[in-house]
C-alpha cells in the first residue's frame, strides 16, 4: 500500500536519509527502530510531506510520485488518506477534545457537522476519553492529549496512521495508557507505521520491523525474525543489550 524507494534528504551538508526503502502493506503494524539521529523521524515526516525529500519515489495505493516534485494538490489528497500522531501531540490548542477530532472531518473532508460529531464521540470513546470531550488541551494530561490525538487520527478512517515517537514525551505511567490504545488499534487491523523506542511494544504488537542507523536501513523483516534472529551485529546489539558477545 505504501512503498518508498531510495528516499534521500539532507539538511544543509548533513545527509539524514541516504536512500531508504520502506514497504508497508495493508494491515501491517510496522515499526521503525534505531538510535537517536538515525533519520527515523525524518523518514516519517518525508513520507507525509512535512519535509520535502530531495529524491526517491513514493507509491501509495498504486499511485507513484517522484519525491520532491509532488504537486500540492496531490499532497493534500494523500494527506487526507493518512493521519499523523506527533511526539508532542500538537492538539489544536484553541479547540476542545471533540473539536480536535471533528475539525479535519468538517473542514478538510466537508463532512456534515452532525455526522462528524457522531464519529468524533465514537473515536474519543474508543480511546477512553468520552468523559473529557469538552476539555481544552491545556486541561488534559500528556497521556490524555495523546489519546485525543490518536482519536483525531483514526476518526477520519485513514488508510494508514503514522506515529512519530508517540510516547517519548510521556512519563512511564502515561506511556502505558497510550500504548494500550495503540495495541487496540493494531488488533482492529488499522495499518500503522510507528517510529518508537518502545522495544516491548515493537516486539509484541508489530509484524514488521525496520532497523535504521545513520540514515540507512540496517535490517528489515518480520518482527519475530528480526528480534529472534537478527542478521546484523548492529541490530543484535541494539535489540539485545549484551547480545554482541554471543
Amino acid at each position: 500500500m505504501l512503498e518508498v524507494k531510495g528516499i534521500r534528504k539532507s539538511f544543509g551538508a548533513l545527509e539524514v536519509l541516504k536512500g531508504v526503502d520502506l514497504t508497508v502493506n495493508r494491515g501491517d503494524v510496522a515499526v521503525i527502530l534505531g538510535p537517536s539521529g538515525s533519520g527515523k523521524t525524518t523518514l516519517l515526516r518525508c513520507v507525509n510531506f512535512l519535509e520535502t525529500a530531495d529524491g526517491g519515489t513514493l507509491a501509495f495505493d498504486g499511485e507513484e510520485f517522484r519525491l520532491g516534485h509532488v504537486p500540492r494538490r496531490d499532497v493534500l489528497r494523500l494527506r487526507r488518506k493518512t493521519a499523523f500522531v506527533f511526539q508532542s501531540y500538537n492538539l489544536f490548542l484553541n479547540k476542545t477534545a471533540l473539536e480536535n477530532v471533528t475539525e479535519g472531518l468538517i473542514v478538510a473532508r466537508k463532512m456534515p457537522k452532525a455526522q462528524a460529531v457522531e464519529l468524533g464521540r465514537r473515536a474519543l470513546d474508543r480511546v477512553g476519553m468520552s468523559g473529557r470531550m469538552d476539555h481544552y488541551p491545556s486541561q488534559l494530561s500528556g497521556g490524555q492529549q495523546q489519546r485525543v490525538a490518536i482519536a483525531r487520527a483514526m476518526a477520519a478512517d485513514p488508510e494508514i496512521i503514522y506515529f512519530d515517537e508517540p510516547t517519548s514525551a510521556l512519563d512511564p505511567e502515561l506511556t502505558g495508557e497510550v500504548l494500550a490504545v495503540m495495541r487496540r488499534l493494531a488488533e482492529d487491523g488499522v495499518t500503522m507505521l510507528v517510529v518508537t523506542h518502545e522495544l516491548g511494544f515493537a516486539r509484541t504488537v508489530s509484524n514488521q520491523v525496520v532497523f535504521m542507523e545513520d540514515g540507512a536501513v540496517v535490517e528489515a523483516g518480520p518482527t519475530r525474525e528480526v528480534f529472534e534472529r537478527p542478521r546484523e551485529a548492529r541490530t543484535r546489539a541494539f535489540l539485545q543489550p549484551g547480545g554482541q558477545s554471543e
Binding site: 507525509n48 510531506f49 512535512l50 493534500l76 494527506r79 487526507r80 493518512t82 493521519a83 499523523f84 506527533f86 508532542s88 500538537n90 492538539l91 489544536f92 490548542l93 484553541n94 479547540k95 476542545t96 475539525e103 479535519g104 473542514v107 478538510a108 473532508r109 476539555h135 481544552y136 488541551p137 491545556s138 486541561q139 483525531r152 477520519a156
Partner: protein, 224 residues
C-alpha cells in the same frame, strides 16, 4: 465666580460629549476596524513570506511607524490637494489613522502569528487541511488571542490620539473644548473636563478588554 464656573461646566459638557459621540468614537471605530484589516493582511503576507508583498509591507510599516502621526495628517489633508487629491477632514483622518494604526498592529499580529507553535500548522496539514484552512481555523485565532492585549492597548492609545485630528479641522472632542474655551476662556476647567471624558472612554475600553480576554482565554485556563 463658582457659580459661573459650574455653569460653564454644565453648559460645555454636552457640547464636548456630542462631538465625542459623532466624531471621536466613529473615527476610532472606523479607523481601527480598517487598521485591523490592514494589520491582519500585512501580517499574514509576511508570515507566508510572499516575496514582493513582504517587501511592500516592510516599506509601508517603515514609513508609517517612522514618521509622526501629526505630520502624516498634515501631508494628507494640507499636502495632497496640491496633487489633486482633496479629502474632507473626517475621511482624511480616517485614512491617516487606519494606515498609521495598521502599521503598528501589523507588527503585533505578525509577532503573535510567529508565537504560535509550529506544530499547530503541521497538525492542520496532517488533519488534511490546506494552508489557508489551517491559518483561518487554527493559527489566526490563537494569534489573535495572543495579540489581543497589545491590540487593546493600541486601541486605547488611538482614542486619545484622535485629538490630533483637531489639527486638520475635524470637530472632535478636543476641538470642541478649544472652541468653547475661545469664547469663555477657562482653559484649566475645560481641558481637564475634556481630559476626563477621554479617561471615561479609556476606562470603558479597559473594562471591555478585560471581558474580551476572559472570553478568548477560555482555552488557556488550567483545570482546578
Amino acid at each position: 465666580m463658582d457659580e459661573r464656573l459650574l455653569g460653564i461646566v454644565l453648559d460645555s459638557f454636552p457640547k464636548i460629549l456630542i462631538p465625542g459621540l459623532t466624531a471621536t468614537i466613529p473615527l476610532t471605530v472606523i479607523a481601527f476596524s480598517l487598521a485591523m484589516v490592514i494589520a491582519v493582511a500585512a501580517a499574514l503576507a509576511q508570515f507566508a513570506r510572499v516575496p514582493a508583498v513582504t517587501q511592500l509591507c516592510r516599506f509601508y510599516i517603515w514609513v508609517f511607524r517612522g514618521t509622526p502621526l501629526l505630520v502624516q495628517l498634515f501631508v494628507v489633508f494640507y499636502g495632497l490637494p496640491r496633487v489633486g487629491i482633496t479629502l474632507d477632514p473626517f475621511p482624511a483622518a480616517v485614512v491617516v489613522f487606519s494606515l498609521n494604526e495598521g502599521a503598528y498592529c501589523a507588527e503585533t499580529v505578525r509577532a503573535a502569528l510567529e508565537a504560535v507553535p509550529a506544530g499547530q500548522l503541521e497538525a492542520g496539514y496532517c488533519a488534511g487541511m490546506s494552508y489557508l484552512q489551517t491559518m483561518r481555523r487554527i493559527i489566526l485565532p490563537q494569534a489573535m488571542r495572543t495579540a489581543f492585549p497589545s491590540l487593546s492597548n493600541s486601541l486605547i492609545a488611538m482614542v486619545k490620539d484622535t485629538s490630533l485630528a483637531s489639527n486638520i479641522t475635524v470637530v472632535e472632542m478636543f476641538r470642541a473644548a478649544e472652541q468653547i474655551n475661545a469664547v469663555v476662556y477657562e482653559p484649566l476647567v475645560l481641558y481637564i473636563e475634556v481630559g476626563l471624558v477621554y479617561l471615561l472612554l479609556s476606562t470603558a475600553l479597559t473594562w471591555l478588554q478585560g471581558v474580551g480576554e476572559r472570553r478568548l482565554g477560555a482555552y488557556q485556563r488550567q483545570e482546578g
